[in-house]
């Protein structure tokens, strides 16, 4: 029963999205199509692992879609976006601080926050805020104060995540930081400096607290300790291989009964139940999104949108890489979620919100709801009378001018 309702809800959501876009005369659905494809796979995983939570999952999907639309609309105005930058940063830091201070370990992970009977992962929502704040700062490229405050903000986020012990998400933030800082400075030397700085910090952390290294000790040797350190990875690999190319059929696998299979080892669950071909398509879908984001960012309407889209894509790709290759013992096992597919409300919400950034960079005529239909041609506009609509061009100009300085 729950299964039928879930898929019916999914189909209804797609029609809702399609029709509401057509009403406002928008015809670009690339981002939504990919997001819905991945969400459907997520429903398949949720149905087979926790059928009793189906109605909760449906509500979360609806909320995600609404947030996506709302957030896309919000990003239409750069002035509004800009104005909320500092409140978002404060909110993000507040959430992380609350997480560090109050959270109890839930089955070994401290990245959960209990809230009136519900639990959620603040770090997922902080990802969105991080892109929001990070990209916002860049419209004034070379102002030291902005750069400095962004670095402090990034360091605070990564430190908080390290304190919680969520190294996977810390790495996701770090990669996002690298992309943002490269896009803003264009300096490879800066990126190398940041990477070596992080490497040094990691080395220090490992030498001061050796237990951190032990968490990654089984990497590459999981088959030597299949009942303890390599427990999850070996089972993931075994189940993934047993599915072959076409899978055992939805709900027919055994991996879903292993703890955290539907989040941390979701690639293997898909391999086992739906087959390697679907699992590879799932990865290719996110990769397509990356190519789409890069393409739209190249013709993006402003520096803010270009950087936000690329930063969002970097987050999704890094999460995908850590999730898939962590469970298959190609990378250390970190336990981050696969975008859209892993079961988990906060993760789904944040992924859909990141989609809004990608959607916001797409400025083809009549394709993105996150861009206003009427555009102002800067050549015909008196710079002294820039309207809010024209601010996009103002940013574009100021970026160029500052870059030339």
């Amino acid at each position: 029963m729950g299964i039928g309702v879930a898929f019916a809800a999914l189909i209804l959501m797609q029609w809702l999205c399609y029709n509401s876009m057509r009403i406002i005369d928008r015809s670009g659905f690339e981002v939504e199509t990919i997001a819905f494809y991945l969400t459907s796979l997520g429903v398949s995983v949720a149905v087979s692992s926790t059928p009793e939570d189906m109605y909760k999952h449906i509500l979360l999907m609806l909320a995600s879609l609404l947030l996506f639309l709302l957030f896309g609309w919000w990003l239409r105005s750069l002035r509004r976006t800009e104005a909320m930058r500092i409140p978002f940063a404060i909110l993000a830091l507040g959430l992380l601080a609350l997480n560090v201070a109050t959270s109890e370990a839930v089955l070994g992970a401290r990245n959960w926050l209990q809230f009136g009977g519900y639990s959620f992962q603040p770090s997922e929502l902080v990802k969105v805020a991080y892109v929001y704040v990070g990209a916002s700062t860049l419209d004034r490229l070379y102002r030291r104060k902005n750069l400095f405050s962004f670095i402090v903000f990034s360091a605070a986020c990564v430190m908080a995540l390290a304190l919680i012990g969520d190294f996977g998400t810390a790495l996701v933030f770090f990669v996002c930081f690298l992309i943002i800082s490269f896009m803003r400075s264009g300096s490879i030397a800066t990126v190398f400096l940041a990477v070596s700085g992080a490497g040094l910090a990691g080395f220090l952390a490992v030498s001061v607290k050796p237990y951190i290294a032990q968490r990654f000790a089984s990497w590459g040797h999981v088959w030597e300790d299949v009942y303890d350190k390599g427990y999850q990875q070996t089972r993931a690999m075994s189940a993934a291989a047993s599915g072959g190319l076409f899978g055992k059929g939805a709900g027919q696998g055994w991996l879903k009964d292993i703890f955290a299979a539907d989040t941390d080892m979701v690639f293997a669950v898909i391999c086992e139940e739906l087959g390697l071909i679907i699992a590879i398509c799932m990865v290719l879908a996110v990769l397509t999104l990356a190519f789409f984001a890069v393409r739209t960012a190249r013709h993006g309407r402003s520096a803010y949108n270009a950087i936000a889209a690329c930063a969002s894509t970097a987050i999704l790709l890094t999460q995908l890489g850590l999730n898939v290759f962590g469970s298959l013992d190609i990378l250390p096992f970190t336990g981050v979620t696969f975008p859209f597919v892993s079961r988990g409300g906060s993760s789904l919400l944040s992924c859909w919100m990141l989609m809004a950034f990608i959607k916001g960079a797409d400025n083809r005529k009549g394709s993105s709801f996150a861009v206003r239909a009427a555009r102002v041609n800067p050549a015909q506009t008196d710079p002294a009378q820039y309207s809010e609509r024209g601010r996009d061009y103002l940013y574009a100009r100021s970026d160029d001018e500052e870059a030339q300085e």
């Binding site: 070996t234 075994s238 993934a240 047993s242 072959g244 190319l245 270009a306 690329c310 190609i330």
Partner: protein, 192 residues
């Protein structure tokens, strides 16, 4: 602004890394997929396989922990070319040719069965022993078929590879199987 847009390509570095990782996984899957897939089905459910002759005498048996041959040395030697081995040194042996079916794994369809599998051959290992004894180290082969049913009862090649020929054959990737070579291939032999 243009500069920033060009820098968007930096994201593709991560995309390339993901494609590379996926390639690594697919290669590993082709190479080790069977071991991975069968590890827990064999270790947990105790799934095993056995190869027997027509009288139910064990020629080879395998499980998660050990792979065995017949305890009878003579039977082991006489039937060597029929049973083959676990390391694929005799390409024509049953263990090499049908290993995937016996294990219940296929790269395309994944695991096909989880329970133990038992394979019975038409070969009579006692007949094979007698034939091998009769050949007494001479070059030759004995093929014995029941002409009423077409069942092959005995298939023995002599001499059995020595350590030296085994080494050579490993280098060349095959082993001497007199019974299969013309003019003594089974079909030819049986059409006499």
């Amino acid at each position: 602004m243009k500069k920033i847009n060009r820098r968007a390509f930096s994201v593709l570095i991560i995309a390339l890394a993901v494609i590379f990782g996926l390639g690594v996984y697919v290669l590993r899957y082709v190479d080790h997929g069977q071991d991975w897939a069968l590890y827990f089905s064999r270790a947990n459910s105790g799934s095993t396989g056995e190869l027997t002759d027509r009288n139910g005498q064990m020629l080879a048996s395998f499980s998660a922990t050990e792979n065995l041959f017949s305890e009878d040395t003579e039977a082991r030697i006489a039937n060597y070319h029929v049973t083959g081995d676990y390391w694929g040194r005799t390409g024509t042996g049953v263990l090499s040719s049908f290993w995937n079916d016996m294990q219940g794994f296929d790269l395309l369809t994944g695991t096909t069965k989880a329970e133990s599998s038992s394979w019975q051959l038409n070969i009579d290992s006692e007949l094979s022993k007698a034939a091998y004894r009769a050949l007494d180290g001479r070059n030759g082969a004995v093929l014995l078929a029941d002409y009423t049913t077409g069942e092959l009862l005995c298939m023995v090649s002599s001499p059995l590879s020595t350590r030296r020929t085994l080494r050579l054959s490993r280098r060349r990737g095959r082993i001497s199987t007199a019974a299969f070579r013309p003019p003594l291939s089974p079909a030819q032999s049986l059409s006499w």
